[in-house]
């Protein structure tokens, strides 16, 4: 074949991949030189995950060629790709929670007879060699997201992968963990490995990566040989084909209205039975956005669950519109005016196998019925209304909702929650994993809701987002609210210290 094969660690040529009703890749191209970190960019649904899944042997392409280290490959299964030196860290982690770190790392390449002590020792050596701390004897379900990711990377290193693919690795990482990851990837590239790095966080991409390939609608639309030469807006433009993006501006200050949500002395346990929330006091008023700042895993998830009735507090009171709802069911809270956009969209928020229509009416089905029956025509009309108002891009409304891309799932979910004019909206990580346009759309909806009088509790890991949108910031650390800050006057360094638990008296 072509003459320059040998200087590519990976060459995906004219990849085509169709799924029922969608063309995920339509002739996309990706070339990665050895020893470089290569960014793969594109908006939600552009086909990035599909491309790397073809490289990892998970998807069989409908057309195109896969070359790895100068050889054409025909992967029949992930095992073939692993044998060819491809290591992959999937967008959704591939770890067995009940197995230990060591067992997870050696799964797939373990010796015939397992000697735990020996395996654990070798895994410990590997993690020391790359400076990635991970206790090999601990079961994975006890680990934080950052630790799980280290285990995933160690898994690839254990196989001695020459090509490491990372699909949105920082979506679940704290800023500190992300920086560590960047350093670790550089060390691997210096080792002669190549890294394919998928992320929506362009500042990180520019900081970590050497080269980039941009996908749009399943096609390669640009390649960048030196990322130091481009600026962020240029990259964003390449991805979406237009230059909008960035964080929306909050409209001028509004007078905060009456209290719509309060927590008084609330404590709760996490899934492992350990204290997750300790004596939380907070209020949210109409016409304001209250941002929760904190490194993930400091009680944010439990906070959202306690407010929405998915987790029982061990102490304290929760009120919505001044009414005590501590013992009320999630449904009763919704009817009182509490809306919830959960972190886990396709699981807690939406039912993956149910249709777009069914998912959009599960909250407000009472409005679409006559007597005991649901009126299908009304349901469809309601759903169409949401789809239009919130700009959801979807195929047929009766198809399972799992076919929608992340940004569109989120638009529909938010639309559904806002359909009955709530008084309070709890939004957990509403823009995580979304592309630039998706982020802007969701953020402007939040701001609009604030103008209309909704009190918004915004839980996010994106500090810029919190700073841009919030009227007040509450910092959470180890299950407590450790300080309240004003977003426009507090220096970032002070917020950073508060997030790390160092509060100045």
């Amino acid at each position: 074949m072509a003459s320059s094969d040998a200087d590519h660690a990976v060459w995906l040529r004219g990849i085509e991949k169709r799924f029922p009703g969608v063309i995920a890749c339509a002739g996309a191209e990706l070339r990665v030189r050895p020893g470089t970190i290569h960014a793969l960019l594109g908006e939600n649904g552009a086909g990035k995950t599909t491309m790397v899944n073809v490289l990892a042997g998970v998807y069989r392409p409908d057309g195109g060629e896969v070359w790895v280290n100068g050889q054409r490959r025909f992967f029949q299964s992930p095992a073939d790709a692993i044998a060819a030196g491809v290591g992959m860290v999937y967008q959704e982690f591939r770890l067995v929670p009940t197995l230990t770190v060591a067992e997870n790392i050696v799964l797939g390449s373990a010796p015939r007879l397992l000697r735990s002590a020996e395996i654990e020792e070798r895994v410990a050596e590997l993690s020391a060699a790359y400076g990635m701390a991970a206790d090999p004897t601990r079961p994975v379900w006890q680990l934080s997201m950052g630790e799980r990711q280290r285990v995933e990377i160690l898994k690839a290193l254990w196989r001695n992968a020459s090509v490491l693919v990372m699909d949105e690795p920082t979506a679940v990482l704290t800023p500190g963990e992300a920086a560590e990851l960047g350093a670790a990837l550089r060390a691997m590239a210096d080792d002669g490995r190549s890294v394919i790095y998928i992320s929506h966080k362009l500042d990180q991409v520019v900081a970590f990566c050497d080269e980039a390939t941009v996908l749009r609608q399943g096609k390669t639309v640009a390649t960048v040989d030196d990322l130091q030469d481009v600026d962020l807006t240029e990259l964003a433009e390449l991805m979406v084909g237009s230059s909008e993006g960035g964080y929306v501006d909050r409209p001028p200050d509004l007078e905060a209205g009456p209290e719509v949500l309060s927590l008084q002395g609330v404590s709760a346990l996490n899934d492992r039975g350990l204290p997750a929330l300790v004596d939380i006091n907070m209020t949210v008023h109409s016409h304001e956005i209250v941002g929760i700042v904190g490194v993930s895993g400091n009680g944010q998830k439990e906070l959202a669950e306690v407010i929405n009735g998915l987790r029982r507090p061990t102490q304290g009171r929760v009120t919505v519109k001044q009414q005590d709802v501590t013992d009320a069911s999630p449904g009763d809270r919704y009817r009182l005016g509490l809306a919830y956009v959960p972190e886990d969209r396709l699981g807690v928020g939406l039912a993956p196998k149910m249709s777009v229509v069914d998912n959009s009416i599960v909250r407000s089905y009472r409005l679409q019925r006559r007597g005991l029956m649901l009126v299908m025509a009304k349901c469809v009309k309601f759903c169409q209304g949401l789809v239009e108002r919130f700009g959801v891009r979807t195929g047929r409304l009766n198809d399972p909702i799992a076919g929608l891309s992340g940004g569109n799932l989120q638009r529909l979910l938010l639309g559904r929650e806002l359909a009955e004019q709530p008084a309070v909206l709890v939004a957990a990580q509403p823009t995580r994993g979304l592309d630039v346009q998706g982020v802007a759309a969701i953020q402007s909806h939040l701001v609009d809701q604030r103008s209309e009088g909704v009190g918004v509790l915004l839980i996010s890991e994106d500090l810029d987002e919190l700073l841009a949108l919030s009227d007040r910031l509450l910092v959470m650390y180890e299950g407590r609210v450790v300080s309240e800050l004003a977003p426009d006057v507090t220096p970032r360094s002070v917020i950073g210290e508060a997030m790390a638990g160092q509060v100045r008296a």
Partner: protein
């Protein structure tokens, strides 16, 4: 009650325990790989009838035993094909296997009903040990299948806990995509587990028709397959606890036909006044109790039930 009757009760306890242990051990293998097989009852019936017929033909109980295992594996292979390879609903396929297996066994065995085999498994009086009073008769003068079951239990524990194959199998039962992307074939692991599980159930069936209730009539299995399914839960998916549970369930099975003759009082209750039917549901009641205890004890950590149990896997689907 006489000493002999009591010894007889415990001898039968070990034998019934072996019967449900073998079948449950097979089901445990399948479930640890992520496949629920509700066809145990049907696989046991097929094993019982085919083992019996091969026994009639060859006169060799071992040939019969292994033929029954092979038939069990084949019948299990049907479940593997339908639910693992083709990805159909495991509950539906398993129930079909029970209903179809019972029916097919009745059909296959229609001409041998009432026949008596000449050669059966005989008790192995283990030299020196079999003569110990009580213990000898209960534990050391049993048919070889009892000792084989113990060895198989140890082997299954060892493979699951200490080998690469076992690690892969357990991983397949917890998360199929993880196992697949680690480079193992989920389809091969699960199909293999279901077929081995079927072999165990088939072998258990032949223990019934070649030793415990020699002969073949429809209804020989009499719900013991369902007890084996319950036993897997009772044993919290672990071979060791499965063995303990098997003795307990075996005891209730052994007691059932004897209850009426036990003219003794226990805790103020006249034993022979208890209905055997009530005793028959005891294993299931115990299983439900254990299930409740498990869900309480494991509320803050992952349950011992394989997380992917019952979920089919197709690579390109999401």
């Amino acid at each position: 009650m006489s000493e002999d009757a009591l010894i007889g009760l415990f001898v039968a306890t070990v034998q019934f325990g072996t019967l449900v242990f073998l079948a449950a051990l097979g089901e445990l293998i399948a479930e640890r790989s992520g496949v629920l097989n509700l066809g145990v009852e049907g696989m046991m019936a097929m094993g019982a009838v085919s083992g019996f017929m091969v026994g009639l033909e060859t006169g060799s109980p071992w040939a019969a035993f292994f033929a029954a295992a092979a038939v069990g594996a084949l019948v299990g292979g049907f479940h593997a094909l339908v639910s693992v390879v083709l990805g159909a609903d495991q509950v539906v396929s398993g129930l079909a296997l029970t209903i179809g297996g019972l029916g097919l066994a009745a059909y296959v065995g229609r001409n041998v009903v009432g026949e008596r085999p000449e050669t059966l498994f005989t008790d192995l009086g283990i030299a020196g040990l079999a003569d110990i009073p009580w213990i000898g008769e209960i534990f050391f003068d049993q048919p070889p299948v009892v000792y084989l079951a113990v060895l198989l239990g140890l082997a299954v524990w060892f493979v699951l806990a200490r080998t690469r194959l076992g690690l892969a199998l357990r991983a397949a039962g917890e998360s199929a995509p993880t196992t697949d992307t680690a480079g193992h074939s989920v389809m091969a692991l699960r199909s293999g587990a279901v077929m081995v599980g079927g072999a165990f159930a088939g072998a258990a069936g032949s223990f019934l028709s070649l030793y415990m209730a020699p002969g073949w009539v429809e209804g020989t299995v009499a719900g013991r397959g369902w007890i084996a399914v319950a036993l897997v839960i009772f044993g919290a998916w672990r071979p060791g606890r499965l063995a303990l549970g098997a003795l307990l369930f075996g005891f209730t099975l052994a007691l059932q036909p004897r209850l009426q003759s036990f003219d003794i009082e226990l805790l103020g209750v006249q034993l022979n006044s208890i209905s055997p039917a009530l005793l028959g549901i005891l294993p299931f009641v115990l299983t439900v109790v254990v299930l409740v205890i498990i869900s309480w004890r494991y509320r803050h950590r992952p349950s011992p039930a394989p997380a992917a149990l019952g979920l089919p896997y197709r690579r390109e689907e999401r």
